[in-house]
Symmetry: C2
Subunit: 407 residues, 2 copies
């Protein structure tokens, strides 16, 4: 799930089974039993012949994590296309789009070397450049909250290992905050017609971050270490190349919450020297990447399309099983079940496994751009990206006009 909560560009959100029903017949009283029968068939097929677990195991274990631009994602694109064909879908193909640079993770090692020695567990942020061999620098805690704060650090960060956030307690683990300031705006209605949209706190935060990065670059910061902010030595993961898949400005790595707090504590008592080596590599030219697409052709209104999607790409510290193997394999299973049961939907159901989601929904944006002439014929879109557990709510992603349909 991409940490940037921007609006999906599609025009409507409906339930997939509403989509199937829309294809089957008009929702009228006399059709209730036909819908119930189809529902029962679908649920029975999923219950008795599910291939979700074996497909998830294959995706996670045999293919593994799937960075956009990596051989593993291409392998997953090819494998899901094979599965779609095997399940009897039509028009199965990979739709290409292009990224500026693919990124290949190398090694990342760090340790405190003075005033004592401690190993540190770090992982390069996605699209972060490596260091120039082993670099050694002093830890600098940079507390920039306003424009004036920049001046306090000017001329002092050359070769520094920067940490830039006062750590919160890791213990007990903090509950998730899905409605924090950064996330809340995407749940608010759009501005009234004729009124300017309020600046998104996320956009404000990103603007500050860009300014800070620019400052670090000018000052000659060696490495930025970001707090993973999780207990149990867990790491975090996002990219710094952004939607353009560019090479990041400064070697940047995530460090465990415990390691971050140790650096923060120690630098308060005096100079702390850290040694870091990160080796990552980039493609030297743009790389073609793909969305996997497959269809069940509509029996009557085949030019009208209901889209069922999920993103197949992932970050690469785990196997990408929850984010978003679960959603991808649910989409694959829906395709299997609907094709097998031969329910003859009136409208075309199109299954899309997107890529580039983690960098800013890039694959779906590219898809919309490539299919902008078809937008009026898209009856509904459901994108599954909820991770583990039951799906209890549907996020509208700024499509407030569809609130009634979803309710």
């Amino acid at each position: 799930m991409n940490s940037r909560r921007v609006a999906v560009l599609f025009c409507a959100v409906v339930l997939v089974f509403a989509g199937v029903r829309a294809g089957l017949a008009k929702p009228a009283a006399e059709d209730a039993s036909a819908f119930a029968a189809a529902d029962a068939q679908i649920l029975s097929e999923v219950r008795d012949h599910s291939e979700v677990m074996q497909n998830s195991e294959y995706l996670g274990d045999a293919i593994g994590p799937r960075l956009t631009g990596s051989p593993q994602l291409k392998q997953a694109n090819d494998w899901t296309a094979v599965k779609f064909r095997e399940y009897g879908l039509t028009n199965v193909h990979l739709e290409p789009w292009t990224i500026a640079h693919s990124w290949t993770r190398g090694t990342a090692h760090a340790r405190i070397v003075s005033p004592t020695e401690h190993p540190l567990t770090i992982a390069s942020a996605g699209w972060a450049p490596g260091t120039a061999g082993i670099v050694r620098g002093s830890v600098a805690y940079v507390d920039i909250k306003t424009d004036e704060d920049f001046e306090k650090y000017r001329g002092k960060l050359k070769g520094a290992i920067v940490i830039a956030q006062e750590p919160a307690s890791l213990s007990p683990p903090k509950p998730d905050e899905p409605f924090s300031e950064v996330n809340r705006p995407m749940q608010t209605p759009p501005p009234l017609k004729g009124q300017p949209a309020a600046p998104s706190p996320f956009a404000v935060m990103m603007a500050v971050a860009r300014k800070r990065t620019e400052f670090y670059k000018q000052e000659g910061v060696a490495v930025v270490l970001r707090d993973s902010n999780k207990p149990h030595g867990l790491l975090n993961m996002t990219g710094i190349g952004g939607e353009q898949f560019n090479i990041g400005a400064i070697p940047t790595a995530f460090i465990t919450g415990e390691g971050y707090r140790m650096l923060y504590r120690m630098q308060k008592h005096g100079p702390v020297q850290v040694e870091i080596e990160m080796t990552n590599s980039f493609s030297d030219k743009p790389v073609e990447v793909y969305n996997t697409v497959a269809e069940i052709k509509g029996s009557e209104k085949s030019d009208e399309v209901v889209i069922l999607g999920a993103h197949l790409d992932s970050w690469d510290l785990g196997t990408g099983s929850t984010d978003n193997g679960t959603g991808s394999m649910a989409v694959l299973e829906a395709a299997r079940v609907l094709a097998k049961l031969n329910l003859k939907p009136k409208r075309t159901i199109r299954f899309i496994l997107f890529s580039g989601e983690e960098e800013g929904l890039c694959g779906s944006v590219k898809y919309v751009e490539a299919h902008k002439d078809e937008l009026e014929k898209i009856s509904g879109v459901l994108v599954h990206d909820t991770g583990t557990g039951r799906v209890l709510t549907l996020a509208l992603h700024d499509n407030y006009q569809d609130r009634e349909i979803v309710d």
Copy 2:
């Protein structure tokens, strides 16, 4: 805390404050107010002038993990001796004993290389030898429960990467089982006089483990990977050199619960090749190690001794802050407070920070051996090794005769 729950060899367990009281005066009604006044002084000093946090931070951050035989433990021995002196204790010294080999952790890297690639997070078990460079072998799941089971694997494990336990679910995390079969026996009373003791389940388990290790050695197993059996990618830690601090028979490493389960799942579908490199080193001859000892001399019965102890050594994947920095710093704080308040105990209070605990209570065993002539004069012993949180119970460690004192 050593995973082997053997009996402490000391002859009695009493509360430390009972020890202080014993030194102050005979427990009689007229002394109640004197005791209460001393208690209030002690609690007030701890509340208002505690040095526990700064000492704990120094021990964990500035010294770090403290394997017995490591320079860090020697540093901690020296530093605690300095603190004891600074706090005004007497007879402060390091008591030496000897281990067969010290062990220095090197690097440990592992990854699945076929049928696909996955990095694996591992950590060498303590006193495990390294591999001969990078070794590559097939994962073999070895399910040996009885003597007959050995035959199933004979001749099949040459060069294998062995995993040897059916994994339990990591999710949700299992509650601790302090009264599991392995641990329960140490809480049971000793056998009746004249009757033989039942074999300890722990001893039975260790006998099977030794037999299995011998078998692996004969068969030419390359590496043993042990399930850390914790969620969130956490590792586990113990040693394989045992109480003798010997070099382990086979390169052995702990692997995250997630990595272990991936290997277990994948080997069911076909051959899994893993590449491992572990580099550890040993001292080429025995090494002198130390217990830190300090005293508050008794005013009347100075040859009678109340011991207050904790183990200063630790495993080395963390900083040894909870096991047993907490206990060690509590002992140091007790020394500080009792010395500062000058309460004049009748008996000598001896503070001992043991080493070699993690390998089987070795430092305390050596201490008892060296001081066996004094045993009759030891009035009480309290060893603090409970980790985090409040101390709510006292373990008797087979000293059932002292149950009434503790109750």
